[in-house]
């Protein structure tokens, strides 16, 4: 589904991603872990099409298409979804209007008719149930005045509405208490099918107790320095990131 080959990204003259390769197949869940500042969010944003920095090397192929010159809105309509680490507040734009516009853009892209108001509201109700967000939240402006937890749930709610093929969840667990974490993880799991894939970006192992990855990658200083199965996450939890850092540094001394 997604192939990243030797991706290098520079921001303001500084190399942030230093040659990343990753292969995500249909139905897989990949976890990307790593200490703060290692480039996880940068990778997520680049995949979603955010224009910042410069891609100096590499190739990203998604569903057989070159992702590089695709606009963010087209990536979304092709099935890529980014769950933001810091969802943006948009005063004056209602959640309903936002989601209806987005959903209908997706439908138009697939050659389907716009959804009727009543069908749309029904769908919203259904999906809200999935992440247990209060019904009042969707009549408010996008993320405005939402608590940290509400914002994160709102991301998963949007994911549920748009049913992406590839979801990239950037630190969806940060700032959530254990109950909220369960609800969010549960939502993600219910949306999982054999046809779609997920990249879970997280700093802590905790989330991976609920969303069980097929692969775990450790990103450090702009590179994937270790890959393994879910036991790698537990090992990291045990030994901490210092273990990785030492490992990497000793390698580079050799």
């Amino acid at each position: 589904m997604l192939q990243i080959e030797n991706l290098k990204v520079e921001i303001e003259g500084k190399e942030i991603l230093k040659g990343i390769s990753l292969n995500v197949k249909k139905g897989e869940i990949h976890a990307i872990m790593g200490p703060n500042g290692s480039g996880k969010s940068t990778l997520a944003a680049v995949l979603a099409g955010k224009e910042f920095g410069e891609i100096t090397n590499g190739k990203i192929t998604y569903m057989g298409k070159d992702l590089m010159d695709m606009e963010p809105e087209d990536r979304s309509k092709e099935g890529i979804f980014l769950g933001f680490q810091y969802p943006i507040e948009i005063p004056g734009v209602s959640m309903v209007n936002f989601m209806r516009t987005a959903l209908n853009e997706h439908r138009k892209y697939r050659g389907e008719e716009a959804m009727s108001s009543s069908d749309f509201l029904k769908l919203m109700r259904e999906k809200k149930e999935l992440v247990k967000i209060e019904s009042g939240l969707t009549s408010r402006s996008v993320n405005e005045g939402f608590s940290g937890g509400e914002k994160k749930r709102n991301e998963i709610f949007q994911m549920a509405m748009l049913e992406p093929r590839l979801a990239i969840l950037d630190e969806t667990d940060s700032g959530l208490d254990i109950d909220a974490l369960r609800i969010v993880a549960n939502g993600v799991n219910q949306l999982k099918t054999a046809e779609n894939s997920t990249i879970v970006i997280t700093h802590y192992q905790r989330l991976l107790d609920y969303i069980v990855p097929d692969f775990v990658h450790v990103l450090y200083d702009g590179k994937i320095v270790k890959s393994g199965d879910k036991s790698l996450a537990l090992e990291l939890e045990d030994k901490g990131y210092d273990w990785i850092k030492k490992d990497v540094e000793s390698v580079s001394y050799e």
Partner: protein, 453 residues
């Protein structure tokens, strides 16, 4: 002779030539102010950029035109004009037309209007209710530096008069549909007087439209008295064309514990200047002055606000927002005056602007004059672009760039619209603003009058 002198001479001449005609259509009371006002105008002239409050506007091109000045509409003209469908009209309201600054002389009748409210011609009212008019006329429209006000006092013949008796309130708003229509270029001056007595309540909408493509210049003065404990909710929607200039001066005089809202929504107009004055003339008075302006091409929208805190324990709040596209320009000048003794004043001001192009321009300036020490005052102004982070967020959900921009502009504008209390009206204005932002709102869309655009 300088340009300035020429304009003064021109209006002086106009005044002399037409004074008998003007006076004939008016009452003795209103006429009694004319001569002195003309003298004052001769001293002040048309405001130019040297006048601090007119620093960012150039009135010259609008005053250097030969206009036809006195077109008194006949009954048939009012009939024809009443075919006009205002975009806001779907709303339940009591309607009244003002055509080229004149109101039909119909003894203030509107079908179904409750007892205790009179809405109609000022000229007629000054004959019928001389006491009320005398008590309020030319009492509040005071700005010793702005020649446009005495010019109006000297030359205006008619306008809208609204009177709400003590304790009377309205469930539906009064809507004044303010039309200009002419087959020659025209200068319109009218004068409105609105009296809301103690404990009364008046919701009101004024809609400005130009029905023919000629060049129009309007210079309108409105005086509003809001009695003790009374409420005024005044919404103005301006939708004229690029060949029309609108200068409005609205003086709202508020007594103790009164509450007044003014909201100017400018959708279209070649040059618009709204001066809004609130004088808080008794303890516990409160006012909200709102404005929203959307301008493109070479349009200019200028808002001047002056809040006069004359007594203690009053609250004022200003919120003005604008979106400027193409080569459009705008200005905001917000004055807060807190007089000595006006302790415990709360005064807030906010002006936010979005420029969509590098060529659009906005000048914004607060003007705080505070002579009391126990005062809470805040002001802030921003001029910026659409938020890139928000753009990316919307796009990342599949929303295309054009639609994302629209949503952000609309969301930005909505903060002003959200203050409209009546839900139906709020929704209607939301729709109009969205149409305007989409470039789909035209002055002709709902007009059934026969003009060649």
């Amino acid at each position: 002779m300088s340009k300035r002198e020429e304009t003064i001479q021109h209006f002086s001449g106009l005044f002399k030539e037409n004074s008998s005609r003007i006076e004939k259509g008016s009452s003795g009371l209103i006429n009694s102010f004319r001569k002195e006002a003309m003298d004052q105008f001769r001293e002040l002239g048309i405001p130019d950029r040297k006048n601090e409050a007119y620093k960012y506007i150039n009135l010259d091109p609008w005053f250097n035109t030969k206009y036809k000045s006195y077109f008194v509409p006949e009954e048939a003209d009012f009939m024809a004009a009443s075919d006009f469908r205002c975009e806001v009209v779907e709303l339940e309201s009591y309607n009244k037309i003002l055509l080229n600054g004149f109101s039909p002389k119909d003894n203030g009748t509107i079908e179904g209007l409750p007892e205790g409210i009179w809405v109609g011609s000022l000229a007629e009212a000054s004959e019928r209710f001389p006491d009320i008019v005398e008590k309020h006329y030319a009492r509040y429209a005071r700005n010793g530096k702005d020649g446009l006000i005495p010019l109006n006092t000297a030359l205006a013949s008619d306008g809208m008069f609204v009177h709400v008796k003590k304790g009377v309130s309205l469930s539906k708003p009064i809507q004044v549909i303010n039309l200009v229509h002419s087959d020659t270029d025209m200068f319109v001056q009218h004068r409105n007087l609105i009296v809301v007595e103690d404990n009364a309540e008046l919701p009101m909408i004024v809609c400005d439209h130009a029905l023919s493509p000629q060049k129009f210049l309007t210079n309108a003065v409105t005086e509003i008295y809001v009695g003790e404990n009374a409420r005024l909710d005044m919404l103005r929607v301006q939708n004229e064309h690029n060949n029309a200039a609108k200068l409005t001066h609205t003086f709202i005089h508020q007594e103790r514990n009164s509450n007044a809202v003014s909201n100017n929504i400018t959708l279209h107009g070649g040059m618009v200047r709204n001066s809004t004055y609130h004088r808080l003339n008794g303890e516990g008075a409160e006012c909200n002055a709102y404005g929203l302006y959307l301008a493109d091409r070479w349009q200019h929208v200028d808002n001047f606000v002056s809040i006069d805190h004359a007594y203690p324990n009053c609250l004022s709040n200003q919120l003005f927002k604008g979106v400027l596209d193409d080569y459009a320009t705008g200005a905001f000048n917000g004055r807060i005056l807190v007089n000595e003794g006006a302790q415990k004043t709360l005064a807030y001001q906010k002006n936010n602007n979005i420029l969509l192009t590098d060529d659009a321009r906005m000048d914004t300036k607060p003007q705080l004059e505070i002579y009391a020490d126990d005062v809470k005052c805040s002001h802030g102004a921003t001029v910026g672009q659409l938020d890139e982070e928000a753009m990316f967020y919307l796009k990342s959900r599949g929303i295309n760039k054009t639609e994302a921009r629209l949503m952000l502009m609309f969301g930005f504008a909505h903060e002003v619209i959200a203050n409209i209390k009546t839900e139906a009206l709020r929704q209607r204005i939301d729709e109009l603003v969205l149409q305007r932002l989409r470039g789909e709102l035209s002055r002709c869309a709902n007009c059934s009058l026969d003009c060649d655009k």
